[in-house]
């Protein structure tokens, strides 16, 4: 475990050695702020003290910007620059490398998610004390975000481990996550035969996360995200092992 932790720590810190982490976090928060206050009249027009809008928009921001940027380099860059060989030939298991990298990247995403808490605190705590917030859905919402982001990061990690190009990793991850969001939107559902619709609803991130945002925690949703995460981590592990037989 401690080897995993060492790798995770290094990965996490390395984000702050380049402007990427700062830019993404700031951009993400700024975009969220804009959405929050202006989108469809903004938060102010909503007649309930809830964070519904925020919880709908944050996963999209994560999928379409934050996660692809954070995960694109994980393995691809190590392969491209050649640092992988020194890392792997230390006494580390391939699984520790994968899990460490996952934790490092997920950690940064969690920091971003935690940073979105700034808005509710500003509005319902200090300085604009807008009344009491229903904390249940907020907490379950954050739980949902954490689980969802683990799945998204593992998808990015898997894609990053299949290529040597960060750019490709970014676009493919973006595309995959984008699809996983829009397949669940009403527009696409109407056009599909029922059986496909069932599958689509099953894999859609939006439908999976919706429950959490309403304060309803379902075991099947938790299981879904955990399964995706475990599956993608295993896939990344295989992709890393593949080098031995190349």
């Amino acid at each position: 475990m401690s080897t995993t932790w060492t790798i995770a720590k290094r990965e996490f810190r390395s984000y702050f050695d380049s402007p990427v982490a700062y830019v993404v976090i700031c951009l993400g928060l700024a975009a969220l702020g804009l959405l929050f206050f202006n989108y469809r009249g903004g938060f102010w027009d909503a007649n309930r003290a809830s964070l519904e809008q925020m919880f709908i928009q944050v996963p999209r921001g994560l999928s379409w910007l934050v996660v692809p940027v954070i995960t694109m380099r994980l393995i691809a860059e190590e392969k491209h620059s050649g640092t992988l060989e020194l890392l792997i030939t230390l006494p580390v298991r391939d699984s520790e490398v994968i899990f460490g990298k996952f934790l490092g990247a997920w950690g940064l995403v969690l920091v971003f998610i935690a940073a979105t808490g700034l808005y509710p605190i500003l509005m319902f705590g200090w300085p604009w004390d807008l009344g009491s917030l229903d904390t249940g859905p907020v907490l379950s919402g954050y739980l949902g975000l954490a689980l969802f982001s683990a799945a998204a990061v593992s998808i990015g990690l898997l894609i990053s481990s299949l290529t040597e190009s960060q750019v490709i990793a970014f676009f493919v991850t973006f595309l995959v996550l984008f699809m996983l969001h829009i397949v669940g939107s009403g527009m696409t559902l109407d056009m599909l035969p029922p059986r496909v619709e069932y599958v689509v609803t099953f894999i859609s991130f939006e439908t999976r996360i919706a429950g959490f945002l309403r304060g309803a925690i379902h075991a099947r949703d938790i299981l879904f995200f955990l399964t995706v995460t475990a599956g993608c981590l295993t896939g990344s592990f295989w992709a890393l092992e593949r080098r031995k037989w190349a």
């Binding site: 060492t6 290094r10 050695d17 620059s81 020194l86 030939t89 230390l90 006494p91 580390v92 037989w245």
Partner: protein
């Protein structure tokens, strides 16, 4: 297997698709040896080292490091090895000390021990001035030293260094070799290179590989003796001759020298315009210096210089690897080795140049051809032994060829 065998490779074969990068490579490295793993580019040196460090897996064959199987116990193997990959890349955004600390953390070295070791390592590797810098700010030479430092941090009994001096300037090369010699005093080291001067300087043993096969393996002197020939360097005055004789023409001199009994080839080597200089190859059992002197007196030539050298490792290396390499690679490796020799900035550079040109020149076929034939026979002889031992996994097709060569 005795306990002082630190590295043992048995019949390592590695295929990339249909291409065979390693073909039944077997060797042993004993405790305390500093072994030069020699071969032209593409011979399979890095592939072998990657298998030894469990970065890649062999298609067939096995290897043990410090008694641990590279396939079954990668963590144990890696913990015994300090490895410097070819063109080692480290995280550019990390500081030197930070990086070494990271490696030490993964190797489970606690802070006190790290602090104790790092002082010595910084001194041995000459890192004092760059400890605070980021890796990406360092020159290649300094990065290579950091690479050595990270390989030493756990005080490993075995060091695997893949072309540690590649791309360094001559001064840095000397320094790095110096570090390696120092490090090698109480460790087992296997270092790959295609620079022979380095092997002669730093190693006690050489393993020569070519196209994925071991073609020679033994102490430097044994390998050198394998060529079975000596080289004479002869310079003759171009402008003057003894009383009553005319100044010699280069063609005459060359012909006369080449036809001396016991000389297998004569080749002009570049000099200034006052002398004709030649490099002659002869068999090791005879000494032709007297004959050469007599010839000069007879013809009235003024002999300016004569030297008899035991064949250099470089000659053996070329003889053993060239025919193989030329077959499918043509100019590429020759060009690379010329570039490399030039960095050494000594007279060997010129020599290598001349030889390489010849190799690609059909006109000189008989002198080089001879050397190659001879070399091949020796090569197969060295290899034949091992091939016989582990023929069990065999691919039929290659085996007969091996044996017929072995006899020749």
């Amino acid at each position: 297997m005795t306990s002082d065998v630190m590295i043992e490779a048995q019949g390592l074969t590695k295929r990339y698709g249909a291409f065979r990068a390693l073909d039944r490579v077997s060797f042993q490295v004993k405790k305390g040896e500093v072994v030069g793993f020699l071969g032209p580019n593409g011979a399979g040196k890095s592939t072998t080292m990657r298998i030894l460090t469990c970065y890649q897996s062999a298609t067939a064959g096995s290897a043990t490091v410090h008694g641990h199987d590279v396939f079954d116990e990668p963590l144990e193997v890696r913990s015994k090895i300090g490895y410097l990959p070819q063109r080692a890349q480290m995280y550019g955004e990390m500081g030197v000390l930070e990086y070494l600390r990271f490696v030490a953390d993964i190797r489970k070295i606690n802070v006190t021990l790290f602090n104790k070791r790092i002082r010595n390592i910084v001194e041995v590797c000459g890192l004092g001035t760059v400890l605070g810098k980021d890796l990406r700010q360092l020159s290649h030479g300094y990065r290579q030293r950091v690479g050595l430092a990270q390989a030493l941090i756990h005080d490993p009994p075995i060091l695997v260094l893949d072309e540690p001096t590649e791309g360094l300037d001559p001064n840095e090369k000397t320094e790095v070799l110096e570090y390696i010699k120092q490090i090698g005093r109480d460790r087992t080291v296997i270092l790959s290179t295609h620079n022979l001067a380095e092997v002669e300087e730093a190693c006690s043993r050489a393993i020569i590989v070519s196209k994925g096969r071991v073609v020679a393996d033994g102490s430097i002197d044994e390998v050198r003796a394998r060529g079975g020939r000596v080289r004479y360097h002869v310079s003759i005055d171009e402008k003057n001759a003894l009383a009553g004789k005319s100044a010699p023409a280069v063609g005459d001199v060359e012909r006369a020298l080449a036809t001396l009994d016991g000389i297998t080839s004569a080749k002009e080597t570049p000099t200034d315009d006052r002398a004709h200089a030649f490099s002659l190859l002869g068999t090791r059992s005879t000494d032709l210096r007297a004959d050469i002197y007599r010839l000069c007196v007879e013809r009235g030539w003024v002999l300016l210089e004569m030297r008899r050298d035991i064949q250099r490792l470089e000659d053996v290396f070329k003889a053993l690897t060239k025919s193989d390499e030329l077959a499918d690679r043509l100019r590429a490796p020759a060009a690379a080795s010329v570039a490399d020799e030039d960095e050494d900035a000594d007279d060997e550079g010129d020599d290598a140049n001349a030889d390489d040109d010849d190799a690609n020149d059909e006109g000189d076929a008989d002198d080089e051809g001879d050397a190659d034939d001879k070399g091949d026979g020796d090569a197969a002889g060295a290899n034949g032994k091992e091939a016989d031992e582990d023929d069990d996994d065999d691919e039929g097709a290659d085996a007969p060829a091996d044996k017929s060569k072995g006899k020749g």
